[in-house]
Amino acid sequence: MIITNNISLSFNNSYIFKNLSFKIEKGENTCVSGPSGKGKSSLLKMLQGYLLPESGFIEIAGMELNIANIKEIRSLMAYVPQNINLPVSDGMELLKLVGVENKSEKVGHFAEKLGIPSGMLDRDFDEMSGGQKQRIVIAVCLSLERDIILLDEPTSSLDNGSIEKLMNLIKEIENKTVVSASHNPLWMGLADKIITL
């Protein structure tokens, strides 16, 4: 499903990672791990085409990641960013922004599985805790029903109970390729594969 072949990335003439190669099969749950600043989030950005590898290539669903295929590749992905303090009024606005306002029941279903009452989608986003926002953003992204789910530090604002709920939900979703960036040991324990940077 996802292949990287000898990809490298550098900032200020210093390599973040060099000649990185890995293969993620369809339906596999992969966690990219490593200390802060080692390029976990950058790797997820590379998979979306927001950072381009200085060498090598990336192939997703049989398509090389390039300008010709970028739209189709992104259409396979759902992305949960690291910073979940998104400037929106409430969860419903998030749904509208990504064009799934007709899927509010589905979002509510995922939110409830993550311990968030579905009615909370209408609540002022600024009044929510980081954990509540994170779970709503995850629920919105899961409702997109994309083949590839990219989660950047999905546990950063969650307590252990919420992490377990998220782990159970990810296990329930079949045939989805999950790539997450995290150094949380509990979360890493869920992964089929760990890529350490």
């Binding site: 979306q48 927001y50 970028i70 992104r74 992305y79 303090n85 922004l97 990504v98 064009g99 997109l144």
Partner: protein, 268 residues
């Protein structure tokens, strides 16, 4: 109608004394705008007296090329002022902003002078230059606010842009919230201004025409039309400035680039 009462040079000079009030406010609150104030006042005086000289000549010539060149220079200065105040790169953004100004003026002048007023001579300096000038002059502030809001949003809240771009798959959707915010913040003051016109504010053009001896009803009709022209012009210039700038702000993958902005002190 009575003849206009002229302001004597001494009284004109005396009129500047009231600037002591904003000056004291700036000094008391240590707002670093004193030099800006003097520069702006100085420029205004010099420009207005120059205008008096060359408008005489331009009106006498009333040549379509000279009049068009004059409007082009106004667009150029307007675009330059906006680039400077928003703090964006001259090299990158000056051309898109000039293009936005020229296209907007072609539409506004074409509609109001060609279709509404229906002048026999489209480029008549008495209409072509003041109407273009009023639209362009008013658009500067609104464009500065709108573009600052737009570029600030994109540079400080990138996360939302990338979130929408991946999850919706559409760049149009990803920039929509930023454009909405820019339009609301840029044009709201103009809407507010229009809604109180005649109640709180008496517009300059109408007052000028009445003072100059025109019948109030004619002056009001012109003022209503010019307010519509200003609002449509501001909207066009702002949205075209954003759309033309977008061609250079994003790379072909949709990444935000070229958004380094100069910092201005105290809202200079």
């Amino acid at each position: 109608m009575n003849d206009m009462v002229d302001i004597k040079i001494f009284d004109l000079a005396l009129g500047f004394a009231i600037l002591a009030i904003p000056l004291l406010v700036f000094l008391y609150f240590r707002v670093r705008m004193v030099s800006d104030l003097f520069i702006s006042i100085g420029r205004m005086i010099a420009q207005m007296f120059l205008v008096a000289l060359y408008l005489d000549w331009i009106f006498e010539m009333n040549n379509p090329w000279i009049n068009s060149l004059w409007v082009f220079i106004m667009v150029l200065i307007g675009a330059g002022t906006i680039v400077h105040r928003v703090g964006i790169s001259w090299r990158i953004f000056l051309f898109p902003l000039i293009l936005a100004g020229l296209l907007s003026m072609a539409i506004i002048d074409g509609f109001f002078i060609g279709l509404i007023i229906r002048l026999d001579y489209f480029f008549d300096a008495r209409y072509f230059i003041p109407i273009s000038g009023m639209v362009l002059g008013n658009s500067i502030n609104h464009n500065i606010v709108g573009l600052t809001t737009y570029f600030d949003g994109l540079s400080k809240r990138k996360e939302l842009y990338y979130f929408i771009l991946t999850n919706s798959g559409s760049r149009k959707e990803a920039i929509r919230p930023y454009i909405q915010e820019a339009i609301v913040k840029g044009l709201n003051p103009l809407l507010a201004n229009m809604s109180v016109i005649g109640l709180i504010s008496l517009p300059g053009m109408m007052t000028g025409q009445i003072l100059g001896g025109a019948p109030p009803v004619t002056a009001i009709k012109y003022q209503v039309m010019i307010m519509i022209a200003i609002f449509v012009g501001c909207t066009l210039i702002l949205i075209l400035s954003i759309l033309y700038s977008n061609l250079l702000v994003f790379d072909s993958y949709g990444n935000i680039k070229l958004l380094q902005r100069k910092k201005h002190t105290n809202n200079q």
